[in-house]
Symmetry: C2
Subunit: 331 residues, 2 copies
Amino acid sequence: MTSIRDVARLAGVSPSTVSRVMNQTANVNEEKKQKVLWAIQETGFVPNELARSLYKKNSKIIGVIVPSIDNPFFGELARVIEEEAFLNGYRLTLCSSNHNREKEKANIQMLTRLKAEGIILMTNDETLQEEIEKCNLPIVALDRQIASGNGVSYIHADHYKGSRLAMKHLLECGCKNIVKLREPQVYSSGRQRFAGYVSVCKEYGIPVQYIDCQYDYEDGFRVAEQVLLKYPDVDGILANNDMVAIAVYKVLKKRGYRVPEDVQLIGFDNIAFSHMILQELTTIEQPIKEMGKLAVKAIMEYGQAGKIEQEQVLDVTLIKRETTKERKGLS
Amino acid sequence: MTSIRDVARLAGVSPSTVSRVMNQTANVNEEKKQKVLWAIQETGFVPNELARSLYKKNSKIIGVIVPSIDNPFFGELARVIEEEAFLNGYRLTLCSSNHNREKEKANIQMLTRLKAEGIILMTNDETLQEEIEKCNLPIVALDRQIASGNGVSYIHADHYKGSRLAMKHLLECGCKNIVKLREPQVYSSGRQRFAGYVSVCKEYGIPVQYIDCQYDYEDGFRVAEQVLLKYPDVDGILANNDMVAIAVYKVLKKRGYRVPEDVQLIGFDNIAFSHMILQELTTIEQPIKEMGKLAVKAIMEYGQAGKIEQEQVLDVTLIKRETTKERKGLS
DNA sequence: TTGAAAGCGATACCAT
DNA sequence: ATGGTATCGCTTTCAA
């Protein structure tokens, strides 16, 4: 393992000079510079980031904790974050918590010891207060709220508005008997989405009817059957996210329902797969790209300025596709 | 930032002793031990991994370079790798190369400087020889072959066999006019898959007919149209992977073909989505879990033993689902 | 059992 | 412009 000293020796200069050449941190006599450059080539020297980080007290590491990648939404988010981090000279240490509280704790610990410059949390579990407060790294909660925001920044889409948009769209499509798949209420995203739905019901004097459903495909599959059983006359389903909507779609079709003629269907997230299934899914788009970028930016700013924005709510948009159909004169 | 010295001072012992307590690396007088433990609690001390790594010359970092996460196959692989790495006390630095040669080079460089203990490469570009040879980290190529294997380990599924399995299955299903979507031949996986197909053709005296297709959904969509145009009598399609098969399925249905009655369809990879679409996709399963585990193990073994297995080929299996249908007496 | 001290590899201040 | 040297935080000989 060749070090800066070896290079210095070979070039006949001091380590300081080698450092200066490498980092262009000061002027160096042209001749010596060339010698150093040559010596670096000759030895195949590669600076040790660990040592550099140790001295400079910045690791250029951003920790990312995702709940699990069953849901491509998090995968897409991770990808955006990686891209943005790379552009800014940061690297990304990826941890997946698998909905496992212990593993998540271990991950936060690990990132603290690694001297990560910040953590982007996408985990949906809200029972992690102490861990989060204890580690005093800047934390950005993405798509999730953390109760007593102690130096914790919070970036998320406008779930409330998204749900309202979706619900109103279903109404414009002429649905008379809408069923809501209710998000797990332990997540802030879930509470907000459900509240949006309820608010529209109140406005229009529509009865609130829902069935609880987790955010994943398997549960969507199970719950879809229940919906048809409990509400045989359903003509519109407001799914809690795209993965669930995809499962619901499958059940509907298997049971012989026509979509959107018999039952209209709308998702949430606009993951890539929502337009790959047979009938492209009408859904609410979260600005994934922007969310990822803002998260990285928040952490970088913290490193520089020492402060961090408290909460940022991003806009969502309705993406009309093939699982819903507007009918004239019915809004 | 509290350091080991602060703890030592507070506990009234030397830094060495604190270190010994933390790492249980030697016996320490019980009383002092308790004092140290207390001091750690009191100060909220967290050891600095950077410093530790620097001294111990091992970073416990595994670099993972994926081509892009459009294809969930890589996402699933990354997830398995993370899990296995975590179990063994390693962390994962994730890089996505986006099919960009420059970025990939930069990533390898970066991981070298970071003193990663190894790199798992899933990138499908084969023009990276020099970079790979220059950095002398242990490298594991996953799902991809690297020409002059210089300390490079190679783990991949048996693409050749997989293709043969798929082709034979289509024949057993009674297909008379099969079209192969040919994988990009710059990838070893592509070459092997195509060779498998050709070998079966030869065996059965069937004409080789194919159209070139990238590994992604968009290209699958485009190529599917071409297939129908060029081979209107097609009754079996051997897609190059699941993402493409999903695209093909969509085009077939949109054009009014019945699957599998009119056209049978088979994919490759068995990504999670292959069973989420309306008709579950018949496909060839790659042992994703095993591949990820082996990759991590290979790197760890290198760290310990200094050697690394040269090539490991894993078995694949046919997953019969709903886009093909066996007909009796036709094999 | 314990502490002092010498690194690990790079940086930056302080002289020169 | 350049070199010597202390330093980042931790680990590990080597003595005591």
